[in-house]
Amino acid sequence: MHQEYTVIEGDFVNAGKASSSVKKTLKQLNVSPQIVKRVVVALYEAEVNAIAHAYGGTVSVDIEADKITMVVADKGPGIPDIALAMQEGYSTARPEVRDMGFGAGMGLPNMQKNVDKLNVTSEVGVGTTVEMEVNFA
């Protein structure tokens, strides 16, 4: 099953639309609640990053019998040093983002904790792509 969503820069009101839709789908497919939580938390973190740090982008989700693959691709400033960005506590979040309750530098490390496979690729001035995979069993 394939699903696609668009996320828009600065659109915090709709941040999480893709993740909540995926949550509903996985529940209907009877995926265990623990796995649903890992999937939607990681996807939500990536979605919020595309809205907060980039100029929006697309979320594409593929659900197979044994796993889910999620790709969040944005057009944005890119991440100059991915290893640094992956460190807990590193954040360049703007005040508006902090006002929304984000910007602790915990998102990328939290994605890493929740998924079975994480791949972040980025080109400065072009954008960032976050690919994640979670196995159902």
């Binding site: 915090f12 009101v13 941040a15 999480g16 993740s19 909540s20 949550k23 609640p33 939580k37 939607v40 938390v41 939500y44 973190e45 929304m100 309750g101 984000f102 910007g103 602790a104 530098g105 915990m106 998102g107 939290n110 904790k113």
Partner: protein
């Protein structure tokens, strides 16, 4: 303790989820930082001063379904609709975060960590 007891102790108005008042809860977490809520291993009730749509959305994603908003902040229609859609309970208390947590702790609510 029950959510009804909590609402009474905190002088809180139940905004949505009235039907859940008889439910028992035992652990609580307090934060204004949604980044932090997303890292929780369990699903305690949340006491928070952050009153926006992201508060509700984050709790939904993290599986938390009871949100207590402190300091007399009034949740928006949009927040309450989203909460209702996801079977969550939202209460609003006039107390400060510190006072609300102190009362709950003294009454025996357990911290998550």
């Amino acid at each position: 303790m029950t959510l009804k007891e909590i609402a009474e102790m905190l002088n809180a108005e139940v905004c949505v989820g009235e039907e859940r008042l008889s439910e028992e809860v035992s652990t609580a977490f307090a934060s204004d930082l949604m980044s932090d809520v997303l890292t929780l291993k369990d699903t305690p009730i949340l006491v928070t001063g952050l009153c926006n749509v992201q508060t509700i959305r984050t709790c939904d994603m993290a599986g938390l379904d009871v949100v207590i908003i402190v300091r007399n902040k009034k949740p928006s229609e949009e927040m309450l609709e989203l909460a209702e859609e996801n079977d969550m309970m939202v209460m609003a208390s006039p107390f400060s975060l510190f006072k609300a947590c102190g009362i709950l702790y003294a009454a025996g609510m357990k911290p998550l960590y």
